[in-house]
Amino acid sequence: MNLTLKVWRQKNEKDKGAFVTYQVDGISHEMSFLEMFDVLNERLIQKNEEPIAFDHDCREGICGMCSMFINGRAHGPWTRTTVCQLHMRAFKDGETIVIEPWRAKGFPVLKDLMVDRSAFDRIIAAGGFVSVNTGNPQDANCLPVPKHDADESFSAASCIGCGACVASCKNSSAMLFVAAKVSQLALLPQGQVERKQRALSMVAQMDAEGFGNCTNTGSCEAECPKGVSLTHIARLNREYLMANIAE
């Protein structure tokens, strides 16, 4: 198939950036979206042009590194899919595809389609953990956890930190990301001791990073490759409110 790609090119963080149009032909339906980019880059190199920089690593939908805004959608048209799992079957011959980086104040563009998501790391460092040193914790089976809680906690923990929630949200809100971590630990007995402080610190850091506010539109849930649910956002709100009341 033949495609027209409009790709955002930006030399570095300070550069203004602009769209550049590329024609690519001979693309197979079996290729993944990123493999289509590999083909394009290979051709750019042959022409002695700089290849397009984009983040990617595991290419099996779990590392959370890939991040492209394709035709107006985070990770492209398929739901519950990362860019690396998106395949060219999703597109038609002759189609024009517009590819942009994640856009948010909290995610500055580093180059082309690469953004800096270190804000997420700082939010986790603010409280997204259980303060237990390596050593001799009690036996793992000392604290039974109801299966339902464990499953719910796991569903929150399956967040891959890709940032699609922020990218798709009209407010660039990071609530789903923060909610996933707060929720995961709030549901487990291990997370109880620091439960209140965790919610307070992580929300404070989230606000400091310049993300927008949640207006419950649900775009984040719809675009999340792992289907992390909005109910975790409700839980974060509850945790935060309770923490403030108790404080």
Binding site: N71, K105, F211, G212, T215, A222, N244, I245
Partner: protein, 227 residues
């Protein structure tokens, strides 16, 4: 509780939005109750009495203060949050198909809210202010409140504005109601569906059908014949 920290946090502001929003919902129910008195076939006596009591009751008048504070807070916070949200994405997307992942009304509460505010101003100008200040409506004590309502609803333009505004309010509430519960953390996976249904019922049936029924029924002469 560190109130300053809470109020200035993103979630604190959302809590204020939610709490004031729900408070205003309660007011709507109360308002609807009063309006329903218009449907009594008593020549508007109950409604006139109700309006009179409302103006002269010290309790209602103090709640009124809260009401205006709530509206003010709701608007101020909304403006602040909207500005902050716009700043959170300095460079916009060239193509942004957010419509595929969320509902238009959920994303444009600011627009629907502003329209509702405009209607509130008109509405207050029409009924509330004159009555509140002079204790009379329609000038020179010729009409009681019920008659004033009936008169207003003879005007096709006003009826249309009223109905459209109520419709907008319904959509605003359809998102706002369940959203407020989520912002207050009163939502779980189990109840999400139920809450969303309850929200729609409240928005479209109670508020929507409820309020829109007055101008329509009055305009077509189905109600208010004894007034």
């Amino acid at each position: 509780m560190n109130l300053e920290q809470f109020i200035n946090s993103s979630l604190g502001r959302k809590t204020v939005m939610a709490a004031t929003g729900l408070f205003l919902c309660v007011f709507l129910v109360e308002h609807l109750y009063g309006n329903l008195l218009l449907f009594f076939n008593d020549g508007g006596v109950a409604f006139v009495q109700y309006s009179h009591d409302a103006v002269h009751s010290i309790i209602i008048r103090s709640i009124e203060v809260f009401l205006f504070v709530a509206i003010l807070l709701h608007i101020v916070q909304a403006t602040y949050l909207t500005r902050q949200n716009n700043n959170a994405r300095p460079v916009k997307y060239a193509v942004y198909k957010v419509g595929e992942t969320s509902n238009w009304f959920s994303r444009n509460m600011g627009i629907t809210g502003s329209l509702i505010f405009f209607f509130i101003v008109v509405h207050l100008w029409q009924f509330f202010l004159p009555y509140r200040i002079t204790g009379e409506i329609g000038g020179e004590g010729q009409m009681n409140v019920a008659q004033a309502v009936k008169l207003a609803f003879q005007n096709g333009w006003y009826v249309s504005l009223y109905v459209v505004s109520v419709a907008i309010l319904s959509f605003h509430l359809n998102h706002g109601f369940q959203s407020a519960f989520r912002s207050l953390g009163l939502n779980s996976r189990k109840h999400a569906q139920l809450l969303s249904l309850a929200g729609s019922f409240f928005a479209f049936i109670i508020v929507g059908v409820g309020f829109a029924s007055f101008p329509i029924l009055f305009y077509f002469g189905i109600a208010g014949s004894t007034i």
